[in-house]
């Protein structure tokens, strides 16, 4: 899977490249508008992550260029939360998703995975982790071909865990992924805990291994080993 990151901030870019590389994506990057256009003209990507504010141009124009050339690369726009006009403009122009800074890397990788899945609709539409299989389109989860009935939140939770398997996910990033921005209004993540407990119970009950581990009270990790 080839990904192009267009981001002018060195540290940010480095973090994203490192993370996505560790997720087995082939990651290329451009640090400004000119470089980005050059890369786009030469190569095709599965997904392009573009920052709106670039030193020598606007990310929106990159989206425009891509769409003008009838390119099918997936596009995720990165921007400040309230650059609402840019968001609407970007999505109207044909960007697939929009992520606000600051974001969690697991969130970015989940969005990229979702876009790539959508692009390859006829191909592999299933996510597999050991004996757990998720039909993303049909929203069906099976453990050893046995159906597991999950609520919508539990399904999203499982998908998030499996896409970001073997990584520590903070409660904060999980809550933000499932409920959006407003869920930090209470200090406790009790509501999150209830969903995680239920999901774990259902998976184990269906015969799956106990892959959901709590990590030092700060988050969770979905993996075969601790």
């Amino acid at each position: 899977m080839k990904i192009l990151l267009i981001e002018d901030e060195y540290l940010l870019r480095k973090s994203m490249v490192q993370y996505l590389t560790s997720e087995y994506y082939l990651c290329e990057w451009a640090k400004n508008y000119k470089e980005a256009i050059e890369k786009i003209e030469l190569y095709q990507y599965d997904c392009i992550v573009v920052d709106i504010m670039l030193p020598d141009g606007n990310g929106i124009d990159i989206v425009k260029t891509l769409k003008l050339n009838k390119r099918t690369d997936g596009i995720i726009i990165l921007s400040a939360k309230n650059e609402l006009d840019d968001k609407i403009k970007g999505l109207n122009l044909g960007a697939d998703d929009y992520l606000t800074k600051p974001f969690h890397l697991p969130e970015l990788s989940t969005r990229i995975a979702a876009i790539i899945r959508r692009k390859n609709m006829q191909g592999n539409n299933k996510m597999v982790f050991e004996e757990i299989e998720i039909d993303v389109q049909g929203k069906i989860v099976t453990v050893d071909t046995k159906n597991v009935i999950l609520t919508r939140k539990e399904f999203e939770l499982l998908l998030y865990f499996i896409i970001n398997k073997n990584r520590v996910l903070s409660k904060n990033s999980i809550a933000q992924h499932l409920w959006g921005d407003d869920m930090d209004i209470v200090d406790s993540y009790d509501f999150l805990y209830a969903h995680i407990k239920n999901l774990r119970k259902k998976l184990v009950f269906a015969g799956a291994g106990d892959y959901l581990h709590s990590v030092y009270g700060m988050g969770y990790k979905f993996s075969t080993h601790l």
């Binding site: 609402l84 407003d182 209470v186 030092y216």
Partner: protein, 414 residues
Amino acid sequence: MKLFTKYNRLNIATSIITFIIGSCSFYFLLCYILQVELDESLKAEQQEISGYVRTHNQLPEIVPTNEEITTYALSDRIIETKFLKVTKTVKNSTEEWRELQFGIHANGVNYLVTVDKPMAESEDLLQLIIVITIAMIALILLINYFANRLLIKKLWNPFYQTIHKIKNYQITDGNSLSLKSENIDEFELLNQTITGLVDRLQKDYLVLKNFTGKAAHEMQTPLAVISLRLDALMQNEAILKQNAENITDIEKSVRKLSKLHQSLLLLTKVENKQFQLNEEVLLDTIIQEKCKELADLTDVMQLNIKLDIMPVKLLFHKHLAEIVVGNLLNNAIRYNIENGQLIIELTKTELLISNTSINPALDENNIFVRFYRHTNNMDGNGLGLSIVKEITEFAGFSISYYYAENKHTFKVVF
């Protein structure tokens, strides 16, 4: 007191005093001139009589008239010439007369001759002068009055125009204050000074406004870097094991900071009127969606929710409407108590959100002020309600807060 009135009073008082002083001097001057003339004519009479005596050595015959009374009397000594003022009653009217007494020697006898002429003319003059003075004062008052009403009002018109423009001027509108140039120096100076002042204020305001926006904007990348780096740290088991608490705290603070930064950006955008209120927004749908989103939280707190809403369609901005509803609901949940109440009422004209709370009544004058927080809650960033107020005002709605029956209520009137 109006400048007119003040000016007018002074003007009238000075006019009256000037006229009185002027009239008095005029009167005395005239009296003096008339008297001198009268004395001259009396002296001429004396010379006529003396001339007659010198040639005929006897006194001339007296011809009595209304204008002149001449008498002769014997005298044992030579009389000196002198002028006198006497009162005489002639034909039943008492009047002031001017009298000249002089001695004359005729036929070896000393005579005292008196010649009298009436001074009635000067009294008439006095009356005339008083009448003229009063008439002039009255005329001045009248002219002043009309001058006030017409001329002065017209003269001061530019001043009132300037005042009117300043009154209607809003620095937040971002327009510069355009004042007409005047051909009266004072008003021109006033307008120039005010325009200069307003331009300076406008510049300062813009700098401040841009600063907030830019500062918030510049925060976003470092925040993202911190957040991503933290994520990387979290993946290192050894580090995480020893620093789980630190990392959790840092993550929480980064999150707070990024919320603050988003709120500031939003406030700046609303202040700059960068949103267009041209969307039809179904407020009831938004409320229902928000309630559903927050259901997990309200379930945990076991809140008793009463939803009493009817379909309401507003010309608003969808995202802004979501923020208003979201912020109000968040507060109503965040500061609620276990098993507490949350009442949402929506009618065609207003939205009421009431909740029980750990907090006592809040200071209604300050709750919408930026960064104002009740001492019990240091969690929020103190901008949520300012944002709600800014948005509702921008949309032309009004928001108010009251505390009754142990419930905090926020009311938005459309």
